[in-house]
Subunit: 340 residues, 4 copies
């Protein structure tokens, strides 16, 4: 942390800052220039609130130099984390891993048909919600454990792994036997009680960026998981909230290379929630792949117009098949691959 | 819901829209103009996803006419809700109710001293966190039940009610005996599992607006509480996230009169989190009162520079006392009162 | 400017940074800590692009300590600027100055009637557009010089000064004889050609904050005016663009005290454009006054439902009269005054 | 426009709305349902302010059905506009056209060297600023006409067309002889005086989206150009302002397919300003191409660390050459081409 004093700061004020630094068990180093004095605070500053210095008399500006996250940073681990999922899938390696399936599990026939189609097109992981976070209390809230069972059966039949969303720590027990990745939704990105509970598991977690979360906050939430002991963390860009209303969210494609530079964790993209409109899912899936995403999570439904939720952003299986062929070419253009 | 067809929509496409409306148990009414056809969907449309119509062939635009919330709306209840707290406090009436206290309970002496000071200046409710949602896993996470006990004792001694934050449904049992209002923080505004659990209680809930939540989403989250049976809901503006970075958040003062027009629920303001800087808390507390807020929640600490969290945005007791005097004048200018 | 090197930066990389600093005619001072080296760049850094350092090898983070504006800053001038307008009006002093009038001048009778009413309620300055920036090329674009003449006549009759918007440097000549303040609209805040032309005039300029302009950018645009020699600059908050769509803009009331702390220039507020809805203009005018605004600019129309533009956000004269009485009380609560 | 009345609206209020519609020379059609009455306003509603209806008594909500732009819309012209630039370049056709060059022209040798390199890698158009809009009045403001001359000479030598930014209508005369495309910068997107002046020219205009401009506003500004008679309009996404601060702007890649659906005008992307950081320009250029951009405008400098402006976001010529090869593959994956 660097504290620059105002040009009219008194020696007493400078001493008060230095004492505050030392009271926090940090080392201070002072540098006095012609115009102002700069004081560095060195040590474990991650949990320090920089505003505690900003309000001291004579202080001009306070700047955090080191990132507040540690275990999520490239400094902590320079090489890419590769997360193993199920028996043979790796997220964060050369292969771009595609997860696909319906918004919600609706029944045996539905999930079975969709699993067959997405597996046939090259998806590796089946997505589908059993516990659904809905803005309205009057909307369909998911099939619960029965949905998980149906999804597991369909996935196993077609050699797919399973990802599904967890909304609350109380659902861990029922979910663990069925899923390969526990997904934390955007609205729960800062549900710290849930993050703490997931941090002690030995199960991959896919953490979605909140609608108004900065990249730093996303990495801080990952830090909750990592510091608890769970090293299998996958991050996901799914659109942020901006003033533009034509699309539901504004997909921050650039967050993909930014996160990959700051962190060793894999970063995937969700173009379905990122846009909210089917015909925009296709170009944004291509864009995310071209930008270097480590994977994609895409909603596919065999009958989108009959889907109980998010039908409007679900691809038809044929669209998904065509998309996968385009993605394969794009992935190879940047030295990666979609298939084997 | 109103669906306007494109000018080149075919009769078949129009019929498909009408059939979709009827399949959802809604009434349709059609109006054919010179340039285009407009179809109204009448009935319980709150849980309908309007995008399901947007993707139908021939559809130009779909607009939701009725708000997706019901019980939170002025149509549902035209008169103001007045929430009774403790023995004799009413939020939503003529009096502007001030809640004040530290960010976190830190110890017996601290909470006792602060309670004495804020009560002396006219606050009615003591605020203080025992379970703290922190961005960093390495930050102080609160004193837990012990903190609640200390706060209750201090509040009772000075005739104050108690408000404290709940982070997870698992904390309900331990909190109920100690607090008069359960506060849901901004990051949990769409923690639907928590909202459902609070909706079946007989205890006032203060629901803070999320950092990127629209006013409609705030009212939808209130709907979770109301539809569960809990009618004692207080809403709170605490700043939204924008591009401006000088202040931590941008306090949307106008949300106060907007919510009061759309809903019968009381709307209070939190200028401490809304600005994040002590010297901005004062003007924003005055602004919120001038805009018609039903109450304020303000961080006060007897030794802000020694506070374990949020010291930078905590008022000194003397500042708080002076502020209360200004607020009294402003409240009276618009026909309200701060004191008796 | 402070440049913190990465912990693994080499001595060569550190030297390269120091050389870059010196090549820009700045002084460097180096401070080597246990974990990393921090280098300060001292001198006239206002026109330096900090990214030029960010891309150098070994650099961790670059932070600008001194603000990029000079003449607009409190450091440059610690005491408040008081801008004299017309014969006897002062903006930036103890009095909160109210400017009121229609969105656009529409005719002799209209501007005369409105001038009479707003003067009667205590406004000091008549506002009204003669050149109108409109989003649509098909909308009414203003009466031009004829409108200015009508406004001047009406203002003189009632002892008011005149403020009107300038859209392009080519309009300076025609406007100067009629107006006391030239207003630069939000969409032109970074029209640097216009700012340069206004900077060499001896006429007060009211500069509105752009819809997505940071406070720093607002002050940088003021710097264009001040550095050209024009010291009569008034700043204005008029709402920023955020994700919330219920109101046209989100009025950043907190920008008022923030600007007043950073700069010596007066800061007024425009609650009409800040909200876009008549019944929200009243609470936001009160809020801005309570937050310490040096003035207000408010749209008033004697027949809002017949106004050619912005009728929806124009107050009725009676509403304006009642509002002025409330504002007087609020101004006095914070040691200021609205009238004499 | 559709006006839905409140459920408790009186017959008188409904009649008042109908009369207002008719007074604006629009046809009204009324549809009375069980719960509420809906009134359609049909005709030329582009220049109507919908708030004029929102404030009428009894009105619940007002929705604009038809877009406020006409000539820019797909309804007006269903097929793609293809803009001819120079002798043989077409923007909006099958080829993805790349414009490249320095931020600012700095001298003969600089622009000549860069022109040679970008032409060699497949760029078709040379970019470079001669009039520079700078946030700070103390920054380099461009070489003016001399810069234009140098750029034209360098471009001609390498078979390139020329694009350069115009800041004010007074610069038209000096620019016309030298440039093939006049570029309107983001900060001038709603400089209506400038747009009107460009609308009567017979010269292609590239219009950049403002930092906080919605897609609808971008198309409305295009309407200023088109309605003046200039049909050669190219639109450009260059990043919008959001809460995320890691990148200078958030590039809204999805705006590319959205604009292409709503409008017949070509839409290109500027990943240099869209990100502000060199190493993010590469992935975002690929992403924009994968999303279907009709062209790219990219900053390239032979000595970025010596550039007078924007060096931090300028590519090295070698990076640009490698990027062009990747883009060629991506373009072909979606049925387009970069070269011949």
């Amino acid at each position: 942390m660097v504290i620059s004093m105002r040009h009219d700061a008194t020696e007493e004020q400078i001493q008060a800052v230095i004492e505050k630094i030392q009271s926090l068990n940090l080392d201070s180093h002072r540098s006095t220039g012609m115009n102002y004095t700069v004081i560095g605070a060195v040590g474990d500053t991650a949990a320090i609130d920089q505003r505690d210095f900003e309000i001291l008399d004579g202080v001009g500006e306070v700047v955090r130099i080191s990132a507040p996250y540690k275990m999520a940073s490239r400094q902590f681990q320079p090489f890419d984390s590769v997360i193993k999922v199920g028996n043979d899938i790796e997220i964060g390696g050369r292969q771009v891993v595609v997860m696909a399936g319906p918004c919600a599990v609706e029944g045996k026939d539905q999930i079975e048909q969709i699993a067959a189609r997405v597996a046939g097109s090259g998806a590796k992981i089946l997505r589908g919600g059993a516990f659904k976070p809905r803005t309205s209390p009057y909307s369909f809230q998911g099939m619960g454990e029965e949905g998980l069972q149906l999804m597991r059966t369909a996935a196993d039949k077609h050699g797919l792994a399973v990802i599904s969303e967890i909304m609350d720590a109380s659902q861990i027990e029922v979910m663990l036997p069925y899923v390969d990745i526990l997904q934390v939704g955007a609205r729960n990105m800062q549900n710290f009680t849930l993050l703490r509970a997931l941090g002690v598991l030995d199960k991959p977690v896919l953490l979605k960026r909140g609608l108004s979360a900065t990249i730093e906050e996303l990495l801080m939430s990952a830090e909750y998981l990592l510091s608890g002991g769970n090293k299998s963390v996958i991050l996901c860009e799914r659109g942020i909230r901006t003033f533009e209303t034509y699309t539901r969210n504004t997909m921050d494609i650039c967050a993909i290379p930014v996160v990959q530079k700051l962190s060793h964790l894999p970063m995937v993209a969700d173009p379905s929630h990122g846009t909210g409109i089917r015909d925009k899912v296709l170009p944004m899936a291509r864009a995310a792949t071209a930008a270097g995403a480590d994977g994609l999570i895409i909603e596919v439904h065999h009958q989108p117009d009959k889907a109980v939720s998010d039908g409007a952003q679900s691809l038809y299986p044929d669209q998904f098949g065509k998309l996968m062929k385009e993605l394969e070419i794009i992935a190879r253009a940047i030295g990666r691959t979609l298939g084997e």
